[in-house]
Assembly symmetry: C2
């Protein structure tokens, strides 16, 4: 029987989605490991709730949605509480901050220093301080997993690091931002200029009100940095990524490309030449010509040649899916005689 007591930090869309998924998939974990995941504490930005016997995930979400917060005021800071509480895994889901990675970085370090495993969807700490936290995890013999930080539900990190163990990966290229891809797809399919396509993406809730994070390629650059570090063994931060967004892509360029049976896509790439984000011409029918909001990753290897994996890059249950898959792997590694599945 494998026990897994989790602390959830960050209780916005992703946090609530993970709570719901833990509830939804309880039986699956019980069937396999003898016990489900227990949420022993949860934190939103101002309050927290805790119970050694486990909090009811449905109740937690209901309280958050109804009252706007999750429980009572914290007696200490979150890192202090993460050092003191009794749990097995921190699930860190606060918003990405690419200036100083806070508060996520402090949560992750507190948990690793306390010898706890960490699963995170937060790009900031991974795009800015990858070496530091991965070394800390190794030093304390903790798992540090972050499938949800790149490509939402798309299992690109676990695919590359678990299923392609016999491959030498020479490059990764991908559509890593659904908002940009939606805008470019609409320009091409509807002949929309840039501005109305962006407004449409905003109205549908794909783009932020300040869209710079998406369309200037910052989000893609974070993901490029994470993949470069995690899969290719590089040591880079988001600031090392050469970056051109899609502001310069006008309808004329999209139309001209279409005449040549090509599409324009914002591509993040990790190659021998370096790490870069830029709009690229892609032949129609190529795996990286996919329309809409999916994230798509094209991995070049020596034996397989090329492997493509795609999925939904955002969304409550989509991101939760990636978090759950990391939690599953951690429980599996704790089995005394763990097998492959």
């Amino acid at each position: 029987m494998i026990k897994m007591d989790a602390v959830l930090v960050g209780f916005g869309t992703v946090g609530q989605g993970v709570a719901e998924a833990i509830q939804m998939k309880d039986q699956l974990f019980v069937d396999r490991f003898g016990e489900g995941i227990r949420i022993v504490a949860a934190f939103d930005s101002n309050t927290y709730a805790a119970s050694k016997k486990g909090l009811n995930p449905t109740e937690l979400v209901r309280t958050k949605v109804g009252k706007g917060n999750i429980g009572k005021k914290r007696p200490e800071t979150i890192p202090e509480m993460l050092s003191r509480l009794d749990y097995d895994v921190l699930v860190e889901m606060t918003p990405t901050n690419i200036v100083d990675a806070k508060p996520g970085i402090d949560h992750i370090k507190a948990a690793l220093n306390a010898g706890r495993d960490v699963v995170t969807s937060n790009k900031g700490p991974l795009a800015l301080k990858f070496r530091e936290i991965s070394k800390l995890a190794a030093k304390n013999k903790c798992n540090l997993r972050f499938e949800a930080s790149v490509g939402g539900a798309t299992p690109v990190i676990n695919l590359a690091s678990e299923l392609l163990r016999c491959e030498r990966i020479s490059s990764i290229r991908g559509i890593m931002n659904g908002t940009c891809n939606y805008i470019l797809s609409r320009m091409e399919s509807e002949g929309l200029p840039w501005e109305p396509a962006l407004r449409e993406a905003q109205q549908l809730g794909y783009a932020e009100t300040d869209p710079s994070y998406d369309i200037d390629g910052i989000d893609t650059a974070c993901k490029v940095a994470i993949l470069a570090n995690a899969i290719m063994g590089n040591d880079v931060t988001v600031h090392d990524v050469e970056r051109t967004g899609i502001r310069g892509v006008n309808l004329e360029a999209v139309t001209l490309a279409a005449q040549d049976k090509k599409v324009i896509r914002l591509i993040g790439e990790i190659t021998e030449k370096g790490v870069e984000v830029a709009p690229r011409l892609i032949p129609r029918g190529h795996p990286l010509s996919i329309s809409g909001t999916l994230n798509t990753f094209h991995i070049q290897t020596d034996l397989a040649g090329e492997i493509i994996v795609a999925g939904r890059g955002a969304g409550r249950h989509e991101t939760a899916s990636a978090v759950m898959s990391d939690l599953w792997v951690i429980m599996r590694t704790k089995e005394p005689n763990s097998h492959s599945s």
Copy 2:
């Protein structure tokens, strides 16, 4: 130190590719497991070679290419020898036979009955006798792995069974035959009628001289049956798959689809409605609209929503890639304290 003594049966393109890959990746296995994979015997259709100390993979391929056979006449049948020899894993790579699954089925059963693990690229036994051999493997506590049997290098089976463990999979749809997809892509991009597109595929070595296996959807139906059994827990054979090939798809249909921004693709599908192969209209930009010879699988799930994986469906090193990944997993499961990667 994990030892892995392999017997290779079938020494055509795939068998030779696997021998080369075992050589290429030797250091990777030594670094991780303390020992590489040793080929203790290899069989082509008429001859065999064996050595308790391990055969040199490069020499084996050189002998086969130079002399047309691998060694000396067999004293017994292959199943008899597989029952008698000392080894850990059978790698079964004889050609697919969808009439009676022979000779592959006899090799696989002999190895499983002797308590050996099995890795195979051979669709016949899996598309005709899946339950029988998977039960036999379970009874003898043996691994039976077959990533290479569907989609060549594409890790669709291992992705679904290992990385999507928390997902409820409701359907799988895919482009599972590169030859058909090549023909349909060329009809659309070059305005080629059916016949010259097929001849082109044959000249490039994609299609068989008797192309029926590809274009009548038989190959796709085999893969549909395997995925239905292995991932969806069905109990079907290739004969249960409703099947329409691409012979009826003319240039007019392809052109008409293009006017509506759609493409025609031969899609294999496993849904709640059943198992089927048929040409389908796919919107341009959809993951299943990909051109060329790649195999693409679209998996519908409850949390992730949709996951797509694609890769090269055939080829010497591509198929070897899938075999190697299965061999890696088997070695990993033998580690006393095996971890996730």
